[in-house]
Symmetry: C2
Subunit: 380 residues, 2 copies
Amino acid sequence: MKIGILGGGQLGRMLLQAAFNYPVELHVLDPDPQAPCAAATPYFKTGNLQDEAAVYAFGKQVEVLTIEIENVNVAALKRLQAEGVKVYPQPEVIETIQDKRRQKQFFEEHQIPTAPFVLIDYPQELYKHEGFLPAFMKVGKGGYDGRGVLLMRTAKDFVHAFEAPSLLEKAADIEKEISVIVARNEAGEVRAFPPVEMVFDPQLNLVDYLLSPAQITNAQAAEAQAIACRLIEAFQMVGILAVEMFLNRDGSLWVNEVAPRPHNSGHHTIEANYTSQYEQHLRAITGMPLGCPDSRCPAAMVNLLGEAGHQGAVYYRGLKRALARKGVYVHLYGKAETKPGRKMGHVTIIDDNLQSLKASIRYIKEVLKVESRPADSAPA
Amino acid sequence: MKIGILGGGQLGRMLLQAAFNYPVELHVLDPDPQAPCAAATPYFKTGNLQDEAAVYAFGKQVEVLTIEIENVNVAALKRLQAEGVKVYPQPEVIETIQDKRRQKQFFEEHQIPTAPFVLIDYPQELYKHEGFLPAFMKVGKGGYDGRGVLLMRTAKDFVHAFEAPSLLEKAADIEKEISVIVARNEAGEVRAFPPVEMVFDPQLNLVDYLLSPAQITNAQAAEAQAIACRLIEAFQMVGILAVEMFLNRDGSLWVNEVAPRPHNSGHHTIEANYTSQYEQHLRAITGMPLGCPDSRCPAAMVNLLGEAGHQGAVYYRGLKRALARKGVYVHLYGKAETKPGRKMGHVTIIDDNLQSLKASIRYIKEVLKVESRPADSAPA
């Protein structure tokens, strides 16, 4: 079976890794000839993912087409689907998710709990919604990784407003941020992974690590999984969907954003769950039964980001010390160049004991650093 | 780092899969353009592994050269080693292991317990050793997968004797057959995986499945691991070494044969141990610290062999039923054509409960079959 992936980053690379267990041929399209997938498959092609002709030509040669990034040409996907290529997630789902306004409207139409919001077509409209503050202004299309989002505390902040069609979303009173990855296959089978928790560094106010399973009540976990299941069924989507949620201080759950593909919040499933998110995605899109998503043991995931002040050929300081520790799994994405904040890899840590798990997280964050290579040293 | 692998079969493919976690570039050489690695890396080359020029040219472009099959040209490896390529396992180790006579002599010289044996240069010499029967006659070079071995019950069997230099080895009084995979890195660190057990079907007298950890006493397990550690240290080998042993009815352990590479008896480590044999091999040959080889949970491994009476394009009957079961991991090697007895894949099953583990083994053996594709069916 020939499968195509739009996007050749680390998520595509981990999909390729999972696909080695099956007699499938994965073709990858990415604009960057140095993308993490380029060195990982003989079926890598360069091409613009927003270009209709490029995506169409790539998709015509495969039986199943999937994505590892949402920002792709949907018109090409619709043509391919009409011509018999299985496109999973379906183009309509990608189109809805590409636009945060449509995404929120979809949640509302399907009774998916989410933060109250209003659509904003012109910045001037903001002044009608002062009572809504504090709130986040989110641009409808094109925002990602924190871009396209502004916190509006008071009406004074409106001067920074986006000019593009946006939405204003009431700020949640957040207890925890959690994520549920849910899968649905062609037969309509639906299974949700246990919720995971983004643990914040209270000093830096940044995600410190991801913890699986989330430390929430069983009832909260069951409710979060039920919401994710309802949402993927509402989409009638085939593939996996990452559902990021806020657990509010009043105990309610709000869906924040979704991604119809493997997700950063599911990396740990490779070692810590019966089925990995990558395997589950492959099963879903190739007509196989879904695997058991249950947790095998507690786990943490730490992103490896390029250190501030380091740019150029990458050097992983402390790699040997990290690898020497039991239950530590280092995943480096094969990117040759680092720059501050670039996602260069991640580390999953498994441990049945939560105390020693946390000790290992501290250890890894302390010893393993993504730096640029000192001029006088050999590659590590 | 550029690494070369001689051999592009399933063992190479699983090494590639493990290598995705690191920024290494794995080049593969195999005579078969359809080998399991061909579709799995952009750095696949075809070439004869016994040809000195081909192996030398391939090895010259990498920093570290390893094998996934022993039957390779050692002269080329020695030249490469002399010219600064790191060849792991070292050529001298491969050379010793390629010849069962030298292998047995090596065991003897290093006080590694093994079945008593005599070297046989000409078939006529057998008659001097009638008192040694029952015994196995094993050809020194070129035997593999059961070929090149003959059971000599009485002197009447001598008429079938090999003409080539061989050895006659006393038949062991076997309680169990076990295997220990042991790793050693450049720094001399040595770690052994827990012993696994080959469970035989009493009716068919064939290996039914592999069980990890072996059901033996802790003292026996510790002794088996200690023997494997002593052996890899005697070889001063870098990489992993699979050590197959007989546990005799009198409680003693005899080393049967060894393989200086990833091995069939270590497939289960991918899911069932903290570190897989493939990851461990990569760590050993790239100067990394070794990973923890401990078992995470009990596991079984069932080989998927081509069914008798089936030849041609492969069809995996029962694949969906197998995949639907919790704790079942199907590994298909991507071979297009099946034939009776051909290794087409394996299944690892994990389960904390030994009773339900055995039920799953029975289930998988019953439902999952490697057949040739019926003319009227679509690919599964």
